[in-house]
């Protein structure tokens, strides 16, 4: 039933680059926790974990995936931050009939053009981000927008999704500037954003780019002068890096916040102890736990590690853990779960380390994610 007498899970993530804080080592720890919580064995067979660094490069990711499938008897690859790496792994997985579980990567092609019967997208995506933050901001009166967009696929994708939401809600896009990726000095772009007179400056970027943009917006008095920033993809690690003083008041959309209920707090505390550095998990960390656990449940139910069969089982089983309440997987591989609109606390509101968010609204999954009817995935029957 299980090939080679075991189930082997590979966590392929960015261990050394820009995203190694929001994903990285923490996702390996999360995956291990999932295995441990599952009991370490599946139908009496051992579960193994292996991990590697893809450095956010498609070629490295694809090389490692191929090697894992060919020589390491890996059955499933999890995490996969960065869209390019995720797509690269998806190509290999599809060819080999193995399962890939995407947590960190953001872009929607993963469940559209690039969808696969054995590929899943778990934690969030650009559609949900655009939808969550864009909607909320426009409804709060932010009608005119200017985008600072990272000049690569993910940035373009995020901007395009958000523009759609803004326009659908009667807003207006005054302009956009594509900045090189990565980029450290945003003052010039911010000045252009300021000159546009837009009420909202949408940051269609991530990680260090977003952090620097926010920091410098404050430095140049952009926010004081009345314009507002909308970070379209902000992780809790980014807020930590910025400090509340700078980040306060910002609206953002997230798939998970550690301080929502007892379950999330308990898991996060365990994770934090394992990491041993006092940090709290990002949504990518939590999502990785959830996806690995769900895979194991499905593999146990299917009594096999054969990709297609487990994938079918995964689609059948509902997801109910601290991360996703009543989550479900659609034909296009999207795991649909509730998203949260959060606002960053003022320093005075924060009661302790990592107490950063106020959850403003829970966005029900079906509302948060792209409707299946709009999907271009070939697996979706219309």
């Amino acid at each position: 039933q299980y090939s080679d007498g075991k189930v082997k899970i590979g966590v392929l993530t960015d261990l050394s680059g820009t995203y190694s804080d929001l994903a990285g080592k923490g996702t390996i720890v999360a995956a291990q926790m999932a295995i441990d919580d599952f009991g370490g064995k599946i139908n009496g067979q051992p579960i193994e974990l292996i991990s590697a660094d893809h450095q956010n490069k498609a070629d490295i990711a694809s090389g490692i995936a191929r090697k894992w499938y060919d020589t390491e008897q890996v059955d499933v690859i999890a995490e996969l931050v960065t869209t390019a790496a995720a797509i690269a792994v998806r190509e290999v997985s599809k060819e080999k009939g193995k399962i890939d579980l995407v947590s960190g990567a953001a872009s929607t092609p993963l469940t559209n053009d690039k969808c696969s019967p054995t590929g899943f997208h778990w934690t969030y995506d650009t559609y949900a981000l655009a939808n969550g933050t864009g909607n909320a901001v426009v409804k709060n009166g932010g009608k005119t927008w200017f985008f600072l967009t990272a000049d690569y696929a993910f940035g373009h994708n995020l901007q395009a999704q958000t523009e759609k939401v803004v326009k659908a809600n009667g807003g207006e896009v005054k302009g956009a500037v594509k900045h090189p990726f990565p980029n450290s000095d945003f003052s010039s772009f911010l000045l252009q954003a300021q000159a546009s007179g837009a009420q909202i400056i949408g940051l269609a970027n991530a990680g260090a780019d977003t952090i620097n943009a926010i920091k410098q917006a404050k430095e140049f008095g952009i926010t004081q002068a009345g314009q507002q920033l909308a970070g379209l993809l902000v992780f809790i690690t980014d807020i930590h890096s910025l400090g509340l003083e700078t980040a306060q008041g910002m609206m953002l959309t997230t798939g998970f916040y550690w301080d929502m209920d007892d379950q999330t707090r308990a898991w996060s505390k365990r994770w934090s102890e394992k990491m041993g550095n006092g940090k709290m998990p990002s949504m990518v960390h939590a999502g990785t736990y959830s996806q690995v656990l769900h895979y194991l449940r499905a593999a146990a139910a299917a009594k096999t590690d054969e990709g297609i069969k487990v994938a079918d089982e995964m689609r059948k089983l509902p997801i109910n853990d601290f991360f996703a309440k009543n989550g479900k997987i659609r034909a296009d591989g999207r795991m649909v779960h509730d998203m949260y609109l959060a606002q960053v606390k003022k320093p005075s509101e924060s009661k302790g380390p990592w107490d950063y968010y106020k959850i403003v609204r829970t966005i029900p999954g079906d509302e948060a994610y792209q409707p299946l009817s709009e999907s271009t995935c070939s697996l979706v029957k219309k």
Binding site: S16, G17, T18, Y19, S20, D21, L22, D151, V177, K178, H179, P180, P182, N183, S184, D185, S187, S188, F189, L191, Q192, A195, G207, A208, I211, N212, K215, Q216, E219, F220, G221, A225, T237, D238, H240, S241, L242, G243, T246
Partner: protein
């Protein structure tokens, strides 16, 4: 309102000023690099890493020793200079007789090690570093809001660059440095302690990088990657200015900051590439760089 190429002149002023501010960092870094290349004939690939180290020393000093910005401005270059001197004495000094490829390779390796260690220790997201209270706030210049701190960066870098230039060009030191590059044995046979001079120059060159790092800390995040993103551009600056020309690398630093700033307005996607375009054009027209000597 007046406009140039569709951009209001006022806004253009703002962009020029911002370009100049970025140029200040290029100038400081390329100055150190040019110095080190000029004397040691070593393309110091670890320059970016040592710049980052300067910023980190400031951050560490603040968080673990309570030493503030002004103290860091003195302490960080000293610490980094000492590290630089150790690197020079233990490793680089074995390479002078060899092709400068080996220096490049060694310092590249060192850059990987330094950057890797800081990544391992402090993650990649970067640490916040506040603007010193004395320099907080900003001036409204009419066409833009200029943070006082950025103004200070430009002034500090100008003072530092011109001071260094003066010390090197207007004293015999510059001649020793240049001659020492060409034929260290002979210069030493004239009675000059070339190894000491080399060591101190390396120390000074990386100290400049460290100062730039401290100056950068409040503007950008203090992050292990801050150096490697910059280094290749700074190389280009040095080459465009003319290898070995101190003034050339300073002026080119400011100038390219401005060029890059303008590109961010007219063709933002190309902002990180424009310097290389300039480099191709310059080298084809003036093979030794803008301020380089010789044909």
């Amino acid at each position: 309102m007046m406009t140039i190429l569709g951009i209001p002149t006022q806004a253009l002023f703002g962009q020029l000023l911002l370009g100049l501010i970025n140029g200040a960092f290029y100038a400081m870094l390329s100055l150190g690099l040019a110095l080190i290349f000029g004397l040691l004939n070593i393309i110091n690939f670890s320059h970016g890493a040592l710049y980052m180290m300067g910023a980190f020393v400031a951050w560490l000093a603040l968080n673990f020793l309570g030493l503030g910005y002004w103290g860091a401005l003195i302490a960080a270059p000293l610490v980094v200079a000492v590290i630089g001197i150790i690197i020079e004495r233990t490793m680089l000094c074995r390479l002078y007789k060899l092709d400068h490829l080996y220096g490049l390779l060694l310092t590249f390796g060192l850059a990987l090690i330094i950057e890797g260690l800081f990544r391992e220790g402090y993650g990649v997201s970067g640490q916040p570093y506040a603007v010193p209270p004395a320099l907080a706030g900003g001036w409204n210049l009419g066409f833009m809001f200029l943070p006082i701190y950025r103004g200070w960066v430009v002034v500090a870098s100008l003072v530092l660059c011109l001071g260094t230039w003066y010390a090197i060009e207007k004293t015999k030191l510059g001649a020793y440095l240049r001659a020492g590059t060409e034929n260290p044995t002979l210069v030493q046979a004239f009675g000059i302690n070339v190894p000491l001079m080399i060591t101190l120059t390396y120390g000074f060159g990386v100290a400049l990088a460290a100062i730039a790092g401290v100056l950068a800390a409040p503007i950008y995040q203090v992050s292990p990657k801050m150096g490697s993103d910059l280094i290749i551009v700074v190389f280009a600056v040095v080459v465009i200015g003319g290898m070995g020309s101190i003034m050339g690398s300073i002026l080119t630093g400011y100038m390219l900051g401005i060029v890059e700033g303008l590109t961010k307005v007219f063709y933002p996607e190309a902002a990180s590439t424009v310097i290389f375009m300039v480099m191709v054009v310059v080298l084809l027209i003036k093979p030794a760089g803008l301020f380089g000597k010789g044909a």
